[in-house]
């Protein structure tokens, strides 16, 4: 890997090496730009990842966040990551495309907001991402028959099989979902051999054989091959500007030392909490007052139940079966929609959800835990609207680097509550239909979006539809901070597609 001296002025510095930063870094490096990616976390060796869920937290973002509101979101797992590759190191690799209607929900319903461009405009980038990283899926996707996936789906575990039965029982369609993993060996250019998925089930604890399509085994090697440097262990805390207000560089802490690195252009790809935190802490790019505002999640209601079979929910790709039939349900009393996926789960993650989602104790709790090997689940991802109630702000507490800890306030509004209630009824009916017992509904939210929304007007948005700051022309944002609304799809694919689109805009700019 090429390395740049601390005295050099880079064409582009990217803060964050995950889904937002990595595709863009590769694209810009390919175009001949000098690119430095600063990653706060370490560079991991995939063979060292451990299925032990306590120690596996090393790939989660563990700098403390304060979680408030009526639906305080648990952070740690299933949210931000750390390390070269970002959150894609631990993401579940469920890779549905966003629904075209979710980009124009305001036009459709008079509620939420429209995106400043159409799904069709993003589609070429979506297809490029899928083709480059490797995605498995069915030969015929019921909700988009034109779509093709390069890899066959991994085998269906019992939760996936039971969800198929449940869908049939209540009359909704189902399919193998799009998953960002490969099911036959592949020699990834500039990386090397990626092995086929071994059904180990520990996607959230780090993929040990390269089957999961992350940034560390796709975009980042491509970026490095074209001269980019990925510098790990660098926690950026200061963004420096000149008298004209343009960004001149950053200061990061590495091994306890502060290092200044200058650049012509800066890209923030630190995620919806850390990108907002950096901008708020440095008091930048916020003439709209929208930095930190409109924090969004996915409504991620789950149902769990037991069946009289040994299913071992740790085995196999965790969440294979999908239905998109609830993207616009006929009986909806809400705007937007949700998708449903089957759920297997590693035991401690599963048990922690139950601990936080029920009041069981004593023999009842022990019996519930003992039912792990018979447990099957389903979960939804539901669209979430921007709301002035939900935001990231700086708290009064400082972290070890002296930065204010972020305070995240998250409460469901009427639309989210109605969607949660609708999903709860349907999931219960589905699991009852296949005879699952001891049903437990978990009211939970996952993922993070918003806080630096894109839009066409500088008074109501932080960045343009291409991710360029309205206030500072050499500052760009490429991550889920810019989402105007959540959409129902897991965010990774949209983030990567937007990242390529932003890179193209930077090259034209």
């Amino acid at each position: 890997m090429k390395t740049y001296a601390e005295t050099e002025i880079l064409d582009v510095i990217v803060i964050g090496s995950g889904a937002g930063g990595a595709p863009l870094a590769a694209r810009l490096a390919q175009a001949g730009k000098s690119v430095l990616v600063l990653e706060a976390g370490p560079s991991f060796s995939p063979s060292r990842y451990t299925s032990d869920e306590i120690e596996a937290r090393e790939i989660y973002w563990l700098h403390e966040r304060l979680s408030g509101g009526r639906n305080p979101q648990p952070f740690g797992g299933n949210n931000s990551g750390t390390g070269v590759g970002g959150s894609l190191l631990h993401y579940g690799a469920f890779l549905p495309r966003p629904h075209a209607g979710d980009f124009r929900l305001h036009t459709e319903t008079g509620r939420s907001v429209d995106w400043p461009f159409s799904y069709e405009e993003l589609l070429p980038y979506i297809e490029e991402v899928e083709a480059f990283i490797g995605v498995s899926g069915p030969s015929n996707y019921p909700w988009d028959p034109t779509r093709r996936y390069a890899y066959a789906p991994p085998p269906a575990n019992p939760a996936a099989m039971k969800m198929r039965e449940a869908c049939d029982a209540v009359g909704i369609r189902h399919a193998d979902g799009p998953t960002a993993l490969i099911t036959r060996d592949f020699n990834q250019p500039h990386f090397g051999t990626r092995k086929a998925c071994a059904n180990c089930g520990a996607c959230h604890q780090g993929c040990r054989n390269g089957a999961k399509s992350g940034a560390d085994n796709t975009w980042l090697p491509l970026a490095v091959a074209h001269g980019a440097e990925i510098r790990s262990g660098c926690h950026v805390h200061t963004i420096e500007t000149n008298q004209a207000g343009r960004v001149t560089g950053v200061v990061y802490t590495r091994n306890g030392e502060n290092v200044r690195q200058r650049c012509e252009r800066l890209v923030l790809s630190a995620g919806a909490v850390e990108t907002a935190r950096l901008l708020l802490h440095n008091e930048l790019a916020n003439s709209s007052g929208q930095v930190g505002e409109n924090y969004m999640t996915h409504i991620s209601t789950q149902i769990w139940g037991e069946i009289d079979e040994e299913v071992r929910p740790n085995r196999g790709y965790p969440s294979l079966t999908i239905t998109e039939d609830m993207m616009r349900p006929k009986d909806a009393d809400f705007a937007g929609g949700y998708l449903i996926q089957s759920l297997g789960m590693m035991p401690i993650t599963w048990a922690s959800n139950i601990a936080r989602g029920s009041k069981r104790r004593g023999a009842d709790l022990v019996r519930t835990l003992a039912g792990y090997n018979r447990s099957i689940g389903m979960g939804i991802h539901g669209d979430c609207m921007p709301s002035p109630e939900n935001r990231v702000v700086l708290s009064d507490e400082k972290d070890a680097l002296g930065l204010p800890k972020p305070l995240i306030t998250h409460s469901y509004g009427p639309n989210e509550l109605a969607m949660h209630a609708h999903a709860s009824r349907l999931l219960t009916r589905m699991w009852e239909a296949i005879g699952a017992k001891d049903l437990r509904l978990l009211d939970r939210a996952a993922h993070m979006m918003g806080t630096a929304r894109m839009g066409t007007e500088s008074g109501s948005a932080v960045v343009t539809p291409y991710g360029q700051s309205f206030d500072i022309d050499n500052l760009w944002i490429s991550d889920h901070s810019t989402f105007p609304s959540a959409t129902a799809a897991n965010p990774a694919l949209t983030i990567m597609a937007l990242s390529l689109r932003t890179a193209d805009a930077m090259l034209k700019n």
């Binding site: 120690e55 408030g68 740690g76 071992r312 936080r356």
Partner: protein, 216 residues
């Protein structure tokens, strides 16, 4: 080096990575630390009293239960999971204050320290905690709303410490850590229901077994 004979058999499997084995073996020995690292003796005594009612271990581990209170205290002394409820003070302070709140309330309501309460009284306390009906409005103590939030942390930490133990995983027949070794990353050959691979532990605790009598 051979493992002690009373360690779960699966720890010797070549379907377990070396690093994961080391983690699990080290954890088996965590209980040897008897004194709390971060909690005061008074708070620790409350924790020791509440855990057997929240999560009785005898059915799963027989006469050699884990010292869950020590494990939770050890976990509190180490890196945490990256977030906390905004309404609560930092984790160690929150746990100390929550446990002392329980002791104060036991004194006020039953005229005895919390560890002297019987299992029924402690169980009722757990229910009231979860419903947000148990707390104190005083300095260095937690309100009912705060205690409710802390009670979720209590439940989560207790269960995490419990299931992270190799003996518990073995008793419940959990194969999550047997997902691939170092030399050969085997993964799982089958993910089908009722198809247990030879290296996967079978459940030893009666209610962890399938209820379908046709399944061996």
């Amino acid at each position: 080096m051979p493992l002690p004979s009373d360690y779960p058999e699966f720890l010797a499997s070549d379907h377990l990575s070396g690093r994961t084995r080391d983690i699990l073996v080290t954890r088996l020995e965590d209980d040897r630390l008897q004194a709390p690292r971060v909690l005061s003796p008074k708070a620790f005594a409350v924790l020791e009293a509440i855990l057997p009612v929240l999560l009785p271990q005898e059915d799963i581990l027989g006469n050699s239960p884990l010292n869950l209170a020590v494990r939770i205290d050890t976990a509190l002394a180490g890196p945490r999971d990256g977030w906390r409820f905004a309404e609560l003070p930092p984790d160690v302070t929150a746990w100390e204050q929550a446990l002392l709140t329980l002791d104060d309330l036991a004194q006020a309501q039953h005229s005895m320290p919390f560890p002297a309460l019987n299992a029924s009284e402690i169980g009722q306390t757990l229910d009231e905690l979860a419903e947000g009906r148990h707390g104190i409005n005083a300095a260095n103590r937690l309100t009912p709303e705060q205690m409710q939030k802390w009670s979720f942390d209590l439940r989560a930490d207790a269960i995490e410490c419990f299931l992270a133990d190799a003996r518990v995983q073995d008793a419940l027949g959990i194969s999550a850590n047997l997902n691939g070794g170092d030399g050969v990353f085997q993964g799982f050959q089958t993910v089908d229901a009722n198809e247990r691979e030879s290296f996967e532990p079978s459940p030893k605790f009666p209610s962890a077994k399938p209820r379908d009598k046709t399944f061996p």
